[in-house]
């Protein structure tokens, strides 16, 4: 019993801390060296990163197949669009409200189906995403503007002072949100909640036999994932100044699914890589737009064959710690 030390799970080596600071510095400096066009691309990279992070909670951490995530994204965007255009509520005030609306929607819709396993859940969520889109097209209560959507959404402001209207400001807005989300999610990963999610993904029966309330934790993942997607919807709506059902198709859910799979399930750096791939790839291959899907499809196939765990799978516990320090480990016990 000589060495009951806290595990290395939470410790971050200094070299790793330096790497993180370099990445943050690069993100901060980027807009000063890029044109507005490239800043906008980086903005959409941020939107996809946020969407990827939100789906990663459900798909990556808990292992639940959710192919209707665009539905939650849409609820967030439309909540912002409708409340802003009809009542003139400032966008940044609507940010938490959109998150809550999407979370509430997820809670109501997912509660009755949360016990479904694997592909059954996948089909139900797929249907749910499509129903949201069709409902928006059908213009319920004359709120959603049918296929045309809602126009004339304001730029983000807090009513008074803070006002965001340039590409650079949008860029910082989304990446500050992404950074805060990442901070929160890393803390969750290292808490009993994050572990409970992982226990469920690894073995649901064993998780419940060890005291994890499986149903509630699955629901929490959906609610939290939907809330983040709702936030993404809010920023997206005010950036484009209009929302329409076309932005929330099944394809959008597929892209989010790809982001998580490409990066590695449950890995936050992986999500960033996946989001970069999804958002930058079409730009790089714009000259060959005709072959874009062909290249994209082949890339996914090669990925599944040669790196099924993703580009940057999550390494567990102090394994990560050791590989960075090159420490031998296993010297006690």
């Amino acid at each position: 019993m000589e060495s009951i030390k806290p595990s290395g799970i939470k410790s971050i080596a200094t070299s790793q801390r330096a790497q993180i600071l370099i990445v943050i510095g690069a993100f901060m400096a980027y807009p000063f060296f890029a044109s507005d066009y490239f800043i906008d691309i980086a903005f959409f990279f941020g939107i996809y990163a946020l969407l990827g992070l939100s789906l990663n909670i459900v798909l990556g951490e808990v292992g639940l197949f959710d192919l209707g995530h665009a539905g939650f994204y849409a609820i967030g965007a439309y909540t912002t669009a409708i409340l802003n255009t009809k009542f003139g509520i400032p966008i940044l005030v609507l940010l938490p409200i959109s998150a809550l609306a999407a979370a509430l929607f997820a809670y109501i819709v997912c509660s009755p189906v949360i016990h479904l396993q694997g592909d059954y859940l996948l089909i139900v969520t797929l249907g749910m995403g499509e129903i949201v889109r069709l409902a928006l097209i059908n213009n319920p209560f004359d709120l959603t503007g049918g296929p045309n959507g809602v126009f004339g959404i304001d730029f983000p402001s807090l009513g008074g002072g803070l006002f965001i209207d340039s590409s650079i400001e949008f860029y910082y807005l989304i990446w500050i949100i992404v950074a805060l989300s990442i901070l929160g999610l890393i803390r969750l990963q290292n808490s009993r909640i994050g572990r409970a999610w992982n226990y469920i993904r690894e073995d649901e029966t064993a998780a419940s036999a060890n005291g994890v309330d499986v149903k509630n934790y699955k629901l929490l993942a959906f609610v939290l994932g939907a809330a983040l997607a709702g936030v993404a919807g809010n920023v997206y709506a005010s950036k484009l100044m209009c929302v329409s059902p076309e932005s929330f198709t099944f394809w959008e859910s597929c892209l989010m699914f790809c982001i998580v799979l490409i990066g590695g399930m449950g890995s936050i750096p992986g999500v960033l890589i996946g989001a970069a791939f999804i958002s930058l790839f079409p730009e790089i291959f714009r000259p060959f737009a005709m072959y874009r899907m062909l290249v994209f499809g082949s890339a996914m196939m090669l990925m599944m064959m040669f790196r099924p765990g993703g580009f940057w799978p999550r390494k567990r516990g102090a394994v990560e710690f050791r590989s960075i320090l090159g420490a031998p480990g296993r010297d006690d016990g």
Binding site: I193, D203, N210, G211
Partner: protein
């Protein structure tokens, strides 16, 4: 605890009354009464398909019984959810080891402490002092359980990468990490070599002394059953057919019939002859 009089006086930790579980047309468990007394090791034995594991699954809340009740420390826990039952103090292991394969050994054990924590979403995100204290406690308990089964050296290794025998012990340590009153073990010795089995028996008997637990186990290895049990219950075709001290069970006629069949009188006579010799 070998003294049967002492047994009847000890508190009852777990009791099932007329427990019945039906799958379609099959009555897997049929009116089974079980009493587990504090501080004893009770073995549940019987041929394959006798319904032993089903009893475990009902006790731990995975199945709901059609008829009958389960009492734990005098409280009716029939039909409660598995995660609630763990928090009352019943921890279990599985026949085919069910660890969390892609997580480290330490993280696996920390699962046991999950039901003893209460940090929620906001305290986890904002890392309140209460949440940090709780995390430290969870890690300390997990580490000490890992030391207890002598697997601390693997704390950073993924559970799927350690040896089979170590995985068995890891699963027991995970169950122990919830500080249970009753430990329910489903065939803990299956797949272990004789030496590992020996260590397991020593560990389990030691546990009664050091950790103030009661153990209910399903076991096929008769050496283990006879070696460590204070009481043995025999099941066949969903029913309890006998119970008693290990040496009584060893010579019980109905038990012998259950294991060897009774149709062939010659065979039975032959068996009786070998027992006498």
């Amino acid at each position: 605890m070998a003294d049967p009089k002492a047994r009847s006086q000890a508190d009852i930790v777990l009791e099932t009354k007329r427990l019945t579980k039906i799958f379609g047309g099959l009555t897997a468990v049929n009116h089974v009464d079980l009493r587990v007394h504090k501080g004893e090791i009770l073995s549940l034995i019987g041929p394959n398909g006798a319904g032993k594991t089903t009893v475990f699954n009902v006790v731990s809340g995975i199945y709901k019984p059609e008829v009958g009740n389960v009492f734990f420390n005098g409280r009716d826990i029939t039909g409660h959810k598995p995660h609630q039952i763990v928090s009352y103090g019943v921890a279990r292991t599985f026949q085919n080891i069910r660890l969390f394969p892609d997580m480290t050994c330490l993280e696996n054990i920390m699962a046991g402490q999950h039901c003893r924590g209460k940090a929620g979403l906001f305290s986890s995100i904002f890392r309140t002092s209460g949440q940090r204290r709780e995390e430290t406690r969870i890690q300390e308990v997990a580490a000490s359980r890992l030391h207890q089964v002598k697997l601390w050296k693997f704390h950073d290794d993924l559970a799927k990468n350690i040896a089979y025998g170590s995985q068995r012990m890891l699963e027991i340590a995970r169950a122990l990490a919830s500080d249970p009153d009753l430990l329910v073990l489903d065939e803990p010795s299956s797949g272990l070599n004789p030496r590992e089995t020996e260590n397991l028996m020593e560990f389990l008997t030691g546990l009664i002394e050091t950790d103030d637990v009661t153990i209910l186990l399903i076991e096929h290895d008769m050496n283990v059953v006879m070696g460590i049990s204070d009481w043995v219950v025999v099941m066949d075709e969903g029913r309890k057919i006998a119970e008693g001290r290990p040496e009584e069970i060893y010579t019980n006629q109905r038990v012998i019939e259950a294991y060897l069949g009774k149709d062939d009188e010659e065979e039975e006579a032959a068996y009786a002859a070998t027992v006498e010799h």
